[in-house]
Amino acid sequence: MSDNTIHTLDIRDLHVSVEGEDGTAREILSGVTLTVRSGETHAIMGPNGSGKSTLAYAIAGHPKYTVTSGSITLDGEDVLAMGVDERARAGLFLAMQYPVEIPGVTVSNFLRTAKTAVDGEAPKLRTWVKEVNSAMAALRMDPAFAQRGVNEGFSGGEKKRHEILQLELLQPKIAVLDETDSGLDVDALKIVSEGVNRVRESSNLGVLLITHYTRILRYIKPDFVHVFIDGRIAEQGGPELADQLEDEGYDRFLTPTA
């Protein structure tokens, strides 16, 4: 999508709960308000259990997470009223922290099916194959990947590259990257970050980058940084906030419950 339309993902006072194993609902997000526009990169940082991934899943519509109040809209359209697939077709993308294996479904078949669904028509075969091959080459993925089952036997790094490959090919309006950096060595982190930056530049993508560590922010520069604590945004600022967190950690946000 090379047009200059500005798209807006608007999250207002979002409360999300998840059903525990004992069947009782537990609130994870307690009022999150956040706006992501085309061309902006927002980093969401926070300790484990602060609700970062819950936000990602709630945006994508995972059935395990229940939005109890608040709203999510994309260009004014009610995202919460959409099914999981409709959200993707509306232009939202979630790069998953733990991509699942789908045995027997080849990467090539999967990518073509997804592209067809998102665009509403099958891609032209010749240009599509070229596009896939060059995107894979840019992510230093072996062409043989295309004939493997989706995430089947992939290493952690391969799974994350495969997520970014989809980001490049599906060209969403707003992407949520859920701990895409976790489990990557420095080389893989660079390759994956370059991929994200290519899409940011070519399509004016809006990015919600969820991470536990600051190191990915050396390669993907955020415009805004939000610190998540206990299901709320405890502090927000510019890129300098990430540097500060790198030096100080999350300790100052975690008041002892005495």
Binding site: D85, P103, A114, A117
Partner: protein, 403 residues
Amino acid sequence: MSLLTPSPTQSPDAHTHSGETMVPDASRAERTRSYAVADFPLPNGREEEWRFTPIDRLGSLLRDEPTGACLDWAESLPAGVTLTTMSVEEWQESGAPKPADRAAAVAAAHSGGVAVLTVPAEAEIEEPIRVSLRGNDGRVVHGHRLIEVGHHAKATIVLQHAGSAAYSEVLSIVAGDGADLTVVTLQEWDDDAIHLGQHDVVVGRDASVRHIAVTLGGSIVRLNTNATYAGPGGAFEALGVYFADAGQHLEHRLFVDHEAPHCTSNVEYKGALQGDGARTVWVGDVLIRASAEGTDTYELNRNLLLTDGARADSVPNLEIETGEIVGAGHAAATGRFDDEQLFYLMARGIPEAEARRLVVRGFFASVIRRIGVAEISDHLMKVIEEELRASDAALVAAAEGTA
């Protein structure tokens, strides 16, 4: 016959789980094999080989009497391949494996003759040999066939079963030394059909035999496939695909008996189930006898439960009497449809129905790829698509009904 009606062979206390009736065979090899129907009492449903089968729904299939009915045949025989008949006595003298349960003994005793399909030695038959069998009136039919493939011959045989019948059959498949044989048995019966089959495969020295069972239609289908080796160096591969809908009972039992040394066996069965009362059973017995040094065997069964109310049993048994083997392994698992896979695909814009189809097709892909007979693989993919479309339609109807 009903489970609650004691048969003459049962003791008065047959309804309690008395120790005598429940003692399992010490070895799979000890299971009775005989031409005589009398050697197989009417089952009561607690026997190891019958415990999963709804014997109260088998009607008169286990009755020791001829019916005179037969299936309609249509065959296409390439040049060199012949179809003849032999008497049951001749068949017994040929040394073909004996019946292993009452259904097979009844079928062999009352078939009235054996249809013999012969592929001559060293013949290389390119196109598949097709035999199509159709039941018309739901009557009890006893079938009895022998496939003889000469040494170093190569052939693919496709047996298609369709229509309505209560069919009990014995099929002996004897592959000569160095033969390369693929037998596909396709069960696409009407909803009311019953099919009990015993397929015995004898793998010649250095021969390679593939037995492929595809079971999609029928009320009850129970297929027992047994493999033995006539000499060293044989390879047996058994592939299976089944798809059970509401009320269907599809049962596949395999017994690979390794006695000759340096033989291999590989069993891979995959099944999907949808709808209330859909039921599948897979039993995979492998016996590696003390003499079977250098054996390499693996068996795998996977079941995918697409809806609630379906049940799949999966029972692998591995009996090993020698440590001098290359490998012996098994894997069996039954899983529900994985919602995380569905979420992953839908999060890429793929609608739910299409996502489900992708997952199910992917589930079957590994075994379908290995079938290697293009017309069967293509047909199978098409039928699975149709099954899934039907279930989509049912889901939509159900959703509209509750709306």
